[in-house]
Amino acid sequence: MAIKKTTKSNLITIAILIIIYIVCQILIATGSMSNLMKGLLVPLCYYSIMAVSLNLTVGILGELSLGHAGFMCIGAFASSFFSKTMVDVIGNTFIRFTLAIIIGALSAALFGMIIGVAVLRLRGDYLAIVTLAFGEIIKNVINVLYIGIDRNGLHFSMQDSMSLNLLEDGEAILNGPRGITGTPKNATFTIAIILLILTYVIITNLVNSRSGRAIMAIRDNRIAAETMGIPITRFKILAFSISAGLAGVAGVLYSHNISTLTATPKNFGYNMSIMILVFVVLGGIGNLRGSIIAAVILTLLPEYLRFMQDYRMLIYAVVLIALMIFNWNPTCIQWRENHSLKNYLPMFFKKEKEGL
C-alpha cells in the first residue's frame, strides 16, 4: 500500500527540520554563523514548539486560548526549580534534564487539565477569557512567591525571602520578582530540535488516530459528534492538556537556556500569548508545518530589523500584513501555484503524483 498523503507530508516536514539542523551545525563548525544567530537557535525551537502546540488547541480542537504563555511559564518555573534543587543530587546531566522536561510538561498539563475541567464543558468562547486571566494570574502569583529549601524540607512565603526562616544550610530557590537564578544551561540546539520534532510527531500522530478524529469531529460539528457517542468534554480536555503540556516543554527549553528566569510581562505576558497566536494564524490554522515556518520567520524578522531602530516594529507590522496577503489572497495563491517548484522541476515531482 502506498504511503498516505498526510504521512508523506509529515515525513517531509521532519526531513526539512533535520536538514536545517545539519546545515546549522555545519555553519557553526565552520564558524560562519553570527553570534546573534547562534543565540537564536534554541529560541527558534521553543517558539516553534509553542506555535505547534497552540495549533493543537486553535486548529485541531477549534477553541481559542489566549494564555498559552502561562503554560510555558509553569513549565519553565517547575522544571527550573527541579533542576536547581537536584543539580547536586543527580550528577548525570542527561537524566536530570530529561526528568526536568517531564516535570515541566506534566505540571503544565496538570494546569491545562484543571482549566479544561472547569471551562471546557461550557459552549462558547469561555476558554479564551479564562486562559487570558490565567496567563496574567500565574505570572503575578510567581512574582510574590518565595520558596526555599533546607535540610528540613521546603519553605514557602508570600512576603520576602527573610520570612522563609531557612536554616544556615538552606537556599532560597524562587525569589519572587527576582525569580530563579543559576538554572543549569542544559538546553542545547540538538536537544531543542529533537524536542521540536517530538512535539510535531506527537501532535500529528494524535491527529491521525482515533482520539484525533474524535477531537476534529467535535470541532467540525459538536452535536453530530455527540450523536456518534463521543464524550465531548473528555476529548476537549485531553487535547487541551496535551497542548498545555507541550507548551510546558517549550518553557523547559526557555528556562534552561537563560541564566535568570523571571516572570515578567515581556516573556510570559499577554503579548507573548498573542505573538504565538499570530504565528498560528499566519502559518495557517490547523497547519503544523506553517506554524513552524511562521514562528521562525517572525522570530528572526525583528532581530534582523534592529538596524531600523525606532521603525522596527512599524516595519514588522507592515511585513505581517504583507505576509497575510501573500498567504491568503487568491491572486497570490494562483501566482504561487504557477511559480511553484513543481512547474520548474517536474522531473523531481513525477513520482509523487503517481503515488497520490
Binding site: 482515533r210 478524529r213 469531529a217 470541532r219 467540525d220 460539528n221 465531548i232 485531553l238
Partner: protein, 252 residues
Amino acid sequence: MSMLSVKNLGISFGGLRAVDSVSINIEKGELYGLIGPNGAGKTTIFNLLTGVYKPDTGIIELDGKNITGKSTMDINNEGIARTFQNIRLFKNMSVLDNVKVGLHNQYKYPTFAGILRLPSYFKTEKAMNEKAIEILKVFDLDEEKDIMAANLPYGKQRKLEIARALGTNPKLLLLDEPAAGMNPKETDELMDTIRLIRNKFNVTILLIEHDMKLVSGICEKIFVLNFGTKLANGEPKEVLNNPEVIKAYLGE
C-alpha cells in the same frame, strides 16, 4: 418484540406544547414513517429520542431498556443513531474519516497507543478501515473515500450521513428527511438503499419524510403527527386515505 416503545411523551417550550402525549410502538426490524405538516413536532420527537431535549413527561424504552433522560452520548451507546435534517457532516474531514468517527465506540485503543504508534494502533486502524470501506461500499461512496466531506455533492452528503450513523452499529436508525433536496432518480435509489440497509445491517428504521412516494413506497407503518399530537397511526394505505390526514396536509 418491540424495539422502541414510547409512552405518553411530551415536552413544552415556554407556553408551547410542542409534543403532547405521543405514544409509538415500533417492532424489531420495522420500517416506520413519521409524517406531518411543517411544525408538527417531528424533529422535536427525534431530538427527544436522542436526548438532545429531555422530555417533560413520558417514558422511552429501547429494546426493553428505559433510556428516558439519558445523555445523547449514552443513548447512542444504547443503540440509537440518527441523521439530521440540515446535514451535519464533519466537513473538514475525509469521507472515510467521517465513517471512522462513527466507528469510534466499536473499535478502541488508548490515546497513547495512537501517539506512540503501538501495534494495537495499526491492528485496530486496519480493522476500522476495512469496516468503514465495507459500509461505504453499500452507499457506493468507496471511490470517494479520500475526498473532503464538504466537497461531496448534496445527495452523496446525505448518503454519507446515513453511512456514518450506521457506523455506530445502531439497533434503531432515525432518518430525518433523508430525501430532502434529492431529484426523483436519487430518491428511487435512496429507497432501495434504505431497504437494503434494513436487511443487511439488521436495523429498525424510523424516518421523517415529506416525499409521499418514498413514504408509501417503503414504510410498513406510518405515524401522522399534527400540532404535537397523534392524528393517525397504522398501515400506509389506510393512513394516507384518512380524511383527517388529508385535511391536515391540504387544508379544508
